[in-house]
Amino acid sequence: MKFLDLVRLVFENLGRRKARVGLTAFGVVIGTSAVLVLVSLAIGLQRNANEQLYGIGDLTQIQVYPNYGSEGDIRPYGGGGGGGGGSTATLITNQTLKDFAAIPGVAAVVPRDYFNGGLMMQMDRLEGYGSVIGIGLTNLTDLGLTARVGTTEITKTTVVVGSQVALNFYDPRLRPGQEPPAPPDLMGQTIRIVLIRWNQDGTETRKTIQARVVGVLEESRGEADWSIYLPLEEVTKWNEWALGRRINRDKDGYNQVIVKAADPRATLDITNIIVEMGYQAYTPQSFVEGINSFYLILQIIFGGVGAIALFVAAIGIANTMTMAILERTREIGLMKAIGATNRDVMSIFLGEAAGIGLVGGLGGVLFGWTAGQIINVLALAYLAGQSASQGGPPPSVAVYTPAWLPIFVVVFATLIGLLSGLYPALRAATLVPIQALKYE
């Protein structure tokens, strides 16, 4: 029997018993729409959570710190003045940087350092503060940062500032009650960075550096927003001045390194390798993965609830098909008498069962999708009100249906129908023709 003839015959047969097929398929509609809505809800919740997580950091970045061992001494350039830094410490030396770079999947290894001393910034009459980061690269785009104005390139005499740094500038002479000035536009301005060193005798020494702002970064909702970026060598020089001695990276190590993975999926593996090498490594990825696996479990549970409804529908299909085969026993006998093979009969009844599943699945997708849209409208109105009173961005979706889900659900419902029809169809196919023809 030709496949197209089979399909046509199956749907003609289904059309003969519209009411019963419709009622049976309705059970499938309920099951599939339950799967669709519940799984979409779980996915929507996950997307929401991930949206809230946005800004937690670039998921390809791993923060690596030296392991100072059991001493618990995490002060850099330890006060011991080069006493060896403790035998248990795992320092990040220049060789270590090369080792990191050699790990498969690593795109970049960027050492960085803060200034370890007092720091103040001045611009015209304004004073400000910010966290100065010396960074071992020439262009911040390597860390996934982009400029809102100017450049992301870092040179000896220029700085690139984060998007919120301007907010830290204030007028120290401002009298109470006076309107504070608007945050300055730092772009193109020359700022004075005042470094402060506290000496042993209690006095302090100051040193002023002039630097021109050549770039303001796009908001990243991360640490970069409040940072001022300079070349690592500059900050190292300042630290040497504050410390009063030279810093040897092979002996003192780096305080912090950013290891960047080429692919976010590799981040966790690389992190584990670095931890095994004896360093402390952190990535927002591990946190995100934890959240994701929670939502995956939620999806499975929700999908399981829907699957129970589908299972009930499957019993309905099996029942309908068993009834149909009893009623159509003579027809089966006739088909065999006019030359249908067991396989033909089997295909026809399997096709009818799968057809009920398919029709129910399509109906379920339509119904479930509509229900999802309604839930979205209602839930978003409610959640927007909530977040307006509690602060924070409102969620953009409550129920999210990815394209694969309806396809999966329809295929799944069809397969369920097929499976439910297996036993009745097999019975139909193996009937002895004359007994079927004589059946009353």
Binding site: R16, G333, A337, I338, G339, A340, N342, I434, L437
Partner: protein
């Protein structure tokens, strides 16, 4: 011989009781014969016809139809045999009520994987032949018994079988309708088909080239009255 059975037996087990429907039947039907099977109710006429058409399996003995030992065929082989060699006509027509006359006639060709266009042409041709072309788009419920049986005959012819098996095709019909079905079958036989037909009606012997009388599952000589009728 187009049909040859050797010691063909069929027994039905009903719990403890064994019913012997056919008991060592040796029957030969020549090609292009019109063979009538007669006998009282319960003598095994239908059972014999079903075995000849591969609708059931014998308990013992052999059946050879159209150079093929059908008792040794597997399920698929039997299905192919029914599809290509045999056309059935039943007493109760057995048309599918949701299909039109045309669709009913065309239906067997689906299992022969014949293209739709060809199926329709051939079905219409056969309906014309049995005089039912004007009712091609009617469903069985809208046709008289005689008309339904004509459609059933057309369906039996659709795959050009060598053997036409008919089990009391006129049993449900009035005399006139029965007569016209018999004319139709007679005409098919004259055109080359082999017809094996079961009936109670000895008046139909005028169509027969061969008669077989069954009693309690065995072939017996024709009774006086029947023999006379044939003369």
């Amino acid at each position: 011989m187009l049909v040859q059975t050797t010691a063909l037996s069929k027994r039905f087990k009903m719990g403890e009781v064994v019913v012997t429907a056919l008991d060592a039947v040796d029957l030969g039907v020549a090609a292009n014969a019109f063979c009538l099977i007669l006998g009282p109710s319960g003598s095994g006429k239908s059972t014999l016809l079903h075995l000849l058409g591969g609708l059931d399996r014998a308990t013992s003995g052999g059946i050879r139809v159209a150079e093929e030992n059908i008792d040794t065929l597997d399920e698929n082989g039997l299905a192919r045999f029914r599809r290509t060699q045999v056309g059935f006509v039943f007493q109760s027509y057995n048309l599918i009520s949701s299909m039109t006359a045309l669709e009913n006639v065309a239906f067997p060709m689906q299992f022969a994987a014949i293209p739709a266009r060809q199926r329709k042409d051939r079905a219409l041709e056969l309906l014309t032949r049995v005089g039912m072309s004007d009712r091609a788009h009617h469903k069985p419920g809208e046709l008289s018994g005689g008309q339904q049986q004509r459609v059933a005959v057309a369906r039996a012819l659709v795959n050009q079988p060598r053997l036409i098996l008919a089990d009391e095709p006129t049993g449900n019909l009035d005399t006139a309708s029965g007569e016209s079905i018999m004319e139709l079958l007679g005409q098919l036989q004259r055109e080359g088909a082999t017809v094996v037909m079961v009936t109670h009606d000895t008046r139909l012997l005028k169509f027969a080239t061969q008669q077989v009388h069954l009693l309690d599952g065995k072939i017996v000589p024709p009774p006086e009255s029947a023999a006379l009728n044939q003369e």
